[in-house]
């Protein structure tokens, strides 16, 4: 069993290990075509799909774009890394290093969080310069972006758990989860204006709370109070992370 000193050393090694994983992911995966297609181009096309032929105000567009950019970008890294590494057979070597699976997954989540946060700044800057929207609560916006990024990145890592050797299979699965939730989360249309069935599903989507907290930061009223959204995003992040650890561990043998 671990002594107290060994435990402390191991903990700091795990944090360091996570950071090394982040560095590796940034170097290797940020510019991979699937990340750019599903993470960067998807939000743009979906924005156009929502916007064309409709009158949506800038107050709705900007927070919606921020939430959608985060949704796609933060959750794009996770589904790519593990299957890619399984196929390249680097995964086995990675999990034989003195870095725990939990620390590796935390590193993957952090990579998604950084990617999502960085890219969500683009619609904010565009919105602030091209439209008349303004940020009412910068602290809430920062907290909202960080928590949403954490939550979506955790979801992305969870979706990578099934033992598929091809990244495209996992990408397909992740889109099967991400796309339906996009339509019921009140991104461009307020939840109250959506059909009844969509209003029922809306609370089980983490994107609904991300959208709510970001809209609140831009001074809009939403169906979910900001404090509730913050709590729900923390809860979703924890659930996704714990589920990721459990399922990645369970399926690690099958995925080798």
């Amino acid at each position: 069993m671990y002594t107290q000193k060994e435990r402390a050393q191991t903990r700091s090694r795990q944090i360091h290990g996570s950071m090394v994983i982040v560095k590796k992911n940034i170097l290797l995966y940020y510019l991979k075509p699937p990340v750019l297609i599903f993470g960067v181009l998807f939000p743009v096309f979906f924005f156009l799909a929502f916007k064309m032929g409709r009158t949506i105000t800038a107050e709705n567009i900007v927070p919606g774009m921020v939430a959608m950019a985060l949704w796609f970008t933060a959750s794009a890294i996770g589904p790519l890394v593990t299957p890619w590494e399984r196929r390249a057979r680097t995964y086995e070597r990675l999990i034989s290093t003195p870095v725990s699976l939990r620390a590796i997954l935390a590193g993957d989540i952090t990579s998604g969080l950084i990617f999502g946060t960085f890219l969500s700044v683009i619609p904010i800057l565009l919105g602030l310069t091209l439209t008349n929207v303004s940020i009412h609560n910068p602290v809430l916006l920062t907290v909202g972006i960080l928590l949403s990024g954490l939550c979506f990145a955790s979801l992305g890592v969870l979706l990578a758990a099934p033992p598929a050797s091809s990244p495209s299979n996992i990408m397909l699965l992740s889109n099967l989860v991400r796309l339906p939730l996009l339509f019921v989360s009140g991104i461009f249309l307020p939840i109250k204006q959506m059909p009844q069935w969509a209003q029922w599903i809306s609370p089980i989507s983490p994107l609904s709370y991300a959208s709510a907290v970001i809209k609140s930061a831009f001074g809009q009223s939403t169906i979910f109070a900001p404090w509730l959204s913050v709590i729900m995003l923390i809860l979703f992040s924890l659930i996704f992370f714990m589920a990721s650890c459990k399922f990645h561990n369970r399926w690690r043998v099958k995925g080798l």
């Binding site: 090694r13 170097l27 057979r89 999990i95 290093t97 870095v99």
Partner: protein
């Protein structure tokens, strides 16, 4: 001497299949321990359990006194792996690949730079330092794997078919480096199908078959355990003595004939030689070839992994 690896009744099942079935062995510091067995015998599963990639379903094992289940991270800090397939990060440079492994093992910056430089020189990769791993040949990638494994300053190095499919120069260089490092105290766990390599490098060898350890000993002792597989090979000028007369020689355990060559399996080759010479003299036959062959490691391997050895 305290063993660096101690395995006791280690098992792993996949559903109803027992991939590894209650294996036990000890490896002392500074040994090159060969782990031989046919495909599907349980070699890779054993290595994966010892390196923390998969969990055992039964039994215990320690690496440098750290239990591989309860103190997995501590035990993994003492080892490095060079797998058969050079699974380097293809889009990272040679240098980045080495640094990544060193950083994951928490090697301090100055030490990892110094060690990486030394190893790149040792493995003739210095001028490839900035090249992407994708641009390297199989042999160079394998050298890079070895470099990335050694930069972590491991106590135990797991090598899975390290020279499989490599050109002669690369294979020889890798073998030479492993031998040199072993002389400086590195313990090596070597999985290979190359009997010559195992015989030349290993201080002890375990043969695993159907998930169970069939035997563990030094290569020399293993050969003596199957002394009945020693043989005397004789070729006569026509006419040869009668088949039944040759077969009934006192010290012969078994006789095989291939065209005009007779192979007499025996535990006492000297006696058989004398008996054959006497018989040839009595029967006025002329011996044109006579040689004595001891069992090779390959014979030992085949004996312990064959279906009908009992």
């Amino acid at each position: 001497m305290v063993p660096v690896i101690e395995v006791h009744n280690l098992s792993r099942t996949y559903g109803k299949i027992k991939a590894v079935d209650h294996i036990s062995f000890k490896i002392k510091k500074g040994e090159i321990f060969g782990f031989l067995g046919p495909n599907g015998a349980g070699k890779t599963t054993t290595v994966r359990m010892l390196t923390g990639v998969i969990e055992s379903t039964e039994g215990t094992a320690t690496i440098q006194n750290h239990d591989i289940r309860n103190e997995s991270l501590l035990s993994r800090a003492h080892l490095s792996i060079v797998p058969e397939e050079a699974n380097v990060y293809l889009d990272l440079s040679v240098w980045q690949n080495i640094m990544l492994m060193a950083e994951l093992h928490g090697i301090p910056r100055n030490q990892r730079i110094r060690e990486a430089d030394r190893l790149l020189k040792l493995l003739n990769l210095k001028e490839k330092k900035k090249q992407k791993a994708r641009e390297l040949s199989k042999g160079l990638r394998q050298r890079l794997m070895l470099c990335a494994a050694l930069v972590t300053d491991p106590d135990i190095l797991f090598l899975d078919e390290p020279t499989s499919g490599l050109d002669v120069q690369s294979a020889r260089l890798i073998r030479q480096i492993i031998t040199d490092l072993n002389q400086n105290g590195l313990t090596v766990f070597l999985t290979t199908h190359n009997m010559e390599e195992a015989g030349e490098m290993c201080s002890r060898i375990a043969i695993i078959n159907k998930g169970r350890i069939a035997t563990v000993d030094t290569p020399e002792k293993l050969k003596t355990t199957i002394s009945s597989r020693q043989f005397v090979e004789v070729r006569f000028k026509d006419p040869a003595p009668a088949y039944n007369e040759l077969e009934s020689l006192q010290s012969v355990l078994q006789m095989e004939v291939d065209k005009k060559t007779f192979r007499f399996y025996t535990k006492t080759p000297g006696k058989v030689t004398t008996e054959v010479v006497h018989l040839a003299e009595n029967k006025k036959s002329e011996i044109v070839h006579l040689s004595t062959c001891k069992p090779t490691l390959e014979d030992v391997y085949l004996y312990f992994t064959s279906e009908d050895k009992k």
